[in-house]
Structures are given as C-alpha cells and as structure tokens.
C-alpha cells in the first residue's frame, strides 16, 4: 500500500499501463492544463495523508482564473454556492421531518459537480448514484422540483415516487440517481449502446463513489464499454470514504484512476475542489469520448464535509479528520471565494448580492415544495406498468384477492 502512496504523483501513470496508441499526447495539453494535472494528481494513500501533502496551498491553480471570463467565474461561484445552500436547507428540512428516508448531501462536492456538468452538452446523458441532488440541479432540473421530490410531493421531478436517491428527468437527460451501488454502470453502458446503435454523437456520463470500484458491475460495465467502443465517461467521486470504510481498506489499488487499466481505459485524476480543473479535464475526456467513441475514467477527489448521510454523525472520523474535511483549504466554495476575491473579481457587494439571491431562491424552492400537494392515494397503481394488461393487481393491503 505504501508503494502506491509513494509512487510518483503523475496522471500519466495510467497511460503508461495502456498500449502506446492510447497514450495521451502530452504536447496537446496547454500550460495551464499541465500545471493543473501536476498539481492535482496527488496520490491519496495513507502515506500521503500522514505527511500532509494534501494540505498544500492552492495558489498553484490561480493561473486558471486569468484565462477565464469573470462572468463565467462568477457564474460558477454562484452555482456552487447555490448547491451549498440548497443542501444546507435540505438538511434542515430533514431535521424538521419534511424529508424522510435516506438523504445524502453533496456538501464539499460543489466544485466537482459544477465542473463536471459544465463539460456536458445539454443532450448528453447523466447517470448518478444516490448522492444526486446537486447533479440533478446542475443538469438542468428546476431546483424547486428537486426540493419537491425530496418532500415527496406531486410536483417533484419523479412525482414523489423517487425521493432523495432517485432524481430523474427525461427532458434534461438526467436518467436517474440510483440507490444500489454500481447499479447505474450497466445502465450507462446500455444508454451509450443505444446512442451508437442509432449513430448519435451524445456522450453518457456515469457518476459513482469510490466504493463502487470494487463491485462486480464496475468490472463488467467497464469491460463492456471498452469492448463495444461506447462513449461513456465514468466519473469516480473519491471522497476517501465509502460510508465509513476508507479507500485503502476497500481497494487493493487505491489509485482509483488507474483502475481502468485492466480494460485499457485511460484514466485521469483531478482535484475536485477546483472547478476549473474539473471542467477542463472533464471537457477533454468527454470530447475525446465523443470523437474517439471510447470510454474514459475520471477520478475527482474532494472532501465529504459531513457524514455519509444526514443522520450519520461520522463518529468513525477522528477530530483531526473532521477538521481536515471542513477546513478552508478543502472547502471548494471558500477556496474559490478567496481566489476570486484576491483576483479582484468577487467584491463584497457582489458576494452579498449573490448570497441574498441564492438564499431567496433556496427559500423559494422550500416554499414551493411545502405548498406542493402530497400524491393522492388513488394514484398508487398508476406507474406499475407502461402497457396495461388484464389482471394487474390494484388490491389494497386489506382488500380481498377477489373483489366483488
């Protein structure tokens, strides 16, 4: 394990494991991109953690800011802030018992989500796991309807049938948050198969957590995707912990971006706290998937600021780990705030303005959800089957099998 951790932090390592024909052309990377890769492709092994190399400052990525229009940077900032406030409101609604069931938040993942979604075309498809609220919003769903889904109301994106783990919207092509670890991977491969079957040029993005890289569906899907030349970008969100089990405890190869090597799938690792790094790396992989009709693997690492779900106090974390997960340098929003402020792009006035408008919009989403009707019990049997056939059961629990 130590050998992994001490390996040269170089995202080309994966390329080195694949045949030369798949080696990315280094010369094609811009100075900025290369810089970002060198900065972000740090191994996440125990040795790295104990030596504190993850805690390095962020000044290295600042050159990226000067290459981007201020309005775009401010847009990213606002979107990230929105996700943060949305999830905080979600947690609040959960404690108020407005939201039930399992509820997993994207706190700490905001830069990754905004970066990933900024790299997709509107007609590209997205599959995710159950930590999906932010993805749903960023793929284009109305946040009010996402909140209404959390509340289990009729105006929810899935009419209250899905809940937190199952955001879905055909129009924005977010084809589902899925609750079974790994379940979305074969589906994503199949969606890409349908695209190629019809000769389309859309790409499928398939998001998952770090724990997913050890389940059978991972291996079967990556193999099939490469074998059949399917345009899928598999994205592993590495927050170092599957519930409470660390990557090192569960993965024999903890450098997750290398794990496409068995399928000759190129992988890259990116600093998921850095929205521009995520966007640029993802854009490159998505467009290569589109052009070359082949899958890619992206590992984006960031910190899960709180427990696995709303009700998890994360007692398995040490105080030091908790502090690390919530520190300013690992908080993508505070980081970006500081960078934008130092660059003179984000002023106090703008910050206050955005904070107020985000707050109002989130409050509106919660109001919308609160005022949306509960589903009527008479709709209980509306969605069992798409094609009606005789003898579908519409029996309520206490009904006789043979209703008169």
């Amino acid at each position: 394990m130590a050998a992994h951790a001490e390996a040269t932090p170089d995202s080309e390592a994966t390329a080195g494991l694949t045949p030369p024909v798949h080696r990315p052309d280094r010369q094609a990377f811009s100075h900025v991109e290369r810089h970002i890769m060198a900065d972000t492709a740090k191994p996440k092994g125990r040795a790295a953690k104990s030596s504190g190399t993850r805690k390095r400052g962020r000044k290295d990525t600042s050159p990226g800011l000067s290459n981007e229009k201020p309005e775009i940077l401010l847009d990213y900032y606002r979107r990230m802030l929105f996700l943060r406030r949305f999830e905080e409101r979600t947690a609040q609604a959960y404690t108020q018992a407005r939201i039930g069931g399992y509820c997993h938040l994207n706190l700490g993942e905001e830069a990754t989500i905004v970066g990933l979604m900024s790299a997709l075309r509107e007609d590209d498809y997205l599959f995710t796991n159950y930590r999906d609220h932010g993805y749903a919003i960023e793929k284009g769903m109305d946040p009010r309807r996402v909140m209404a889904e959390l509340y289990g109301r009729t105006d929810g994106v899935a009419k209250g049938w899905g809940g937190s783990m199952h955001m879905y919207d055909t129009a924005t092509r977010m084809l589902g948050g899925y609750g079974i670890v790994g379940g979305q991977l074969p589906l994503a491969a199949g969606a890409a198969l349908a695209i190629t079957y019809r000769g389309g040029d859309e790409v499928v993005m398939c998001q998952m957590g770090d724990g997913t890289t050890n389940i059978g569906a991972w291996h079967e899907s990556l193999n099939i995707a490469k074998l059949w030349n399917l345009p899928v970008v598999f994205v592993v969100i590495n927050n170092f912990t599957g519930m409470g089990t660390t990557v090192e405890m569960s993965s024999a190869e903890p450098d997750l971006y290398k794990r496409g090597a068995a399928f000759r799938i190129e992988g890259e690792r990116v600093d998921g706290r850095d929205v521009l790094a995520v966007r640029d790396t993802t854009t490159r992989l998505v467009e290569r998937a589109r052009k070359e009709q082949t899958p890619f693997l992206l590992e984006a690492w960031s910190y899960r600021m709180k427990g696995h779900s709303v009700v998890d106090p994360a007692k398995y974390r040490t105080d030091e780990q908790k502090e690390e997960a919530r520190s300013e340098q690992n908080d993508p929003i505070r980081l970006f705030d500081r960078q934008l402020t130092e660059a003179g792009i984000l002023t106090d006035e703008l910050r206050e303005e955005m904070a107020a408008s985000v707050k109002a919009e989130v409050a509106e989403a919660a109001d919308f959800a609160e005022n949306s009707p509960h589903p009527d019990v008479s709709t209980l049997f509306d969605y069992t089957y798409a094609t009606p056939v005789p003898n579908e059961s519409t029996r309520m629990p206490a009904d006789p099998v043979f209703a008169e």
Partner: protein, 337 residues
Amino acid sequence: MSVITYRQALRDTLRAEMVRDENVFVMGEEIGLFEGSYKITEGLLKEFGPRRVRDTPIAEEGFVGAAVGAAMLGLRPVVEIMTINFSLIAIDQIINHAAKIYGMFGGQTSVPMVIRTPGGGGQQLGATHSQNIELFYSFVPGLKVLAPSTPAEASAMLRAAIRDDDPVLLLENLGLYNSKGEVPDDYAEPSNDDVATIGRAKVTREGSDITLIGYSRMAMVATQVAEQLAEEDIDVEVVDLRSLRPLDRQTFVDSVKKTGAAVICEDDWLTYGIGAEIAASIQEGAFDYLDAPVRRVAMAEVPMPYAKPLETAALPSIESISTVIKETLSAVGKRVG
C-alpha cells in the same frame, strides 16, 4: 396450420420481429457466432449482422443492465440468458432496475425489453443448471412473466413480449424446445399481429371432475395426464396459467367452482412455490366450492441430483400427478377409475 417445434416457433418469430422493427435487437452469450446454446438465434447473425445480433462477454449483470439502459433510450432489446440459473448473476439489474425504473421515476421512462431464458430440469444438468426459479421474478411488481407451453403460444407470447413496453421475462423450458405443435401458417410473417394477451390464463381442455393447473412444461404434461385419465373415464379440466405475472386468478377459480377440486403441478419446489399462491387463491376464491383439499405435485425439496434415477424421482411425472388426482377424487367421494 403447420406443425413445428417450440424452438422453431421462437426462432422464426424473433426473426420476424427483427425484420418488422429496426429497434429490436438481440444480445446474449453465444447467440451470434455460436448461434445460441439452444439454437434459438440460429441464422440471425448472418442475416442481421453484429449490430443487431450482439455476442456478449460472460457478464450477465453487465449485459442485462446494458439492455435495460438501451431500452430506456427506446430500443427493444431481446436478451437471452443461457439458462434461468444464470439470471441470478443479473438479478440486481432485473429486480432493482428493470422492474423499478418506470415506477420509481414516476412513469417517465418505460423499459421495453425481453429476457428470454429457459428453465427446466430432467436433462441431467445437476444442481445449478436444473432450477425453476421463475418465482423470483413472478414475485416482483413491474415485471411481466410469461410461460408458454406450446409452439403457438411461444410464438404469440414472444411477439407480445417484444411489443410490450414493460420488461417481460419469457420463461422457456429445456424440455419443451423439441416439442411440436400446430402454429398458424403466417406465424413467421413480420406482418403477423397475432399478439398473445399477457395476463390471461386459459382452459386448454374442458372437463368436469377436477381442475389440473400447470404452466410451461407442466401445462403440457397436464394435458397428457388428462388424456391418459380420460381412458379411465376421469374427466380432467386443464388450466394453463400462461402468465405468471400478472396472474389470472379468475380463470382457474372459475374452473374450480365448476369441478369442485383442484391439483396443481409444478416443476419448481413446493414450499413457497408458484403452486402455493395458486392454492391460496383457490381457497379464497372458491372456498365454498371445494370438496377436497387442494393438492400440489412439485419437485422434491433437494438440490437436483445428477444421477438419472434420482433426478427422475425428484421431478413430477404423469404417474405422480395421476396418483394425486385419484387420491383427491377419492377424498371427494367421487368414483375413481
């Protein structure tokens, strides 16, 4: 009418549906180059090419899930799982995904896919290749499960399954592939719109003494039992369940109301099996009409042995079913031939 095998009925109907609809494609292990373990896909790769006849790796969860994903985008995959035993590798994709996607997301996207897979014991294939586990899928709302017993039914049900917008598991049977029966002359025509009704059972033989209920291979055996007992002057009514989900309870309950007695024959295990649901439905729907307890003839509760005498003894047979029918009629007080 012409007489063909169950295998040919499936193959020709599958081909016809592929000709009819460009969105229909087949995938599975060994279905292309090898032309299918049981030759249902014989000739299809040559005719349609690898885009529409897709050989898969040995990865049931992966390729069944890929079929679900492709169906979500509007294709109509027909997946072959070599035998139903291997469906256990794909059970997460079938039960947690195929069966859930339409309802879980509020009816936004249907999953128009077919899983074709044979069950069946009696081929000396041993414990892991002889199971009848259709119950697992029949248990789950969101799935439809069909169990054809004749070539004509196999053709009409496969056509219905492909054209249905929900995930349908078509239960075939190793012991039926070579069985023969009449089919309409145009059964293999792409223009044939004779679609079986999903969710309907059928009285395949009328009788007055007792109702014998079966599905898949056992529906065929039930007919043989009835014909044999007719020679002993016992008049057996046979009900073929045809559709395991939705389940048409009314048809067999009406039959039991008429005959006053029922025996269920099934290739699966008795405890918690399909027959348990049938028996429970009969007691609820025809309690006052029953003249004797409902009996079940089902596989012995063991992992299927390889040795022929043991395997034969473990499975229901014409003889064992006939015996139980006579015992039941005897309990009723009716004359036993």
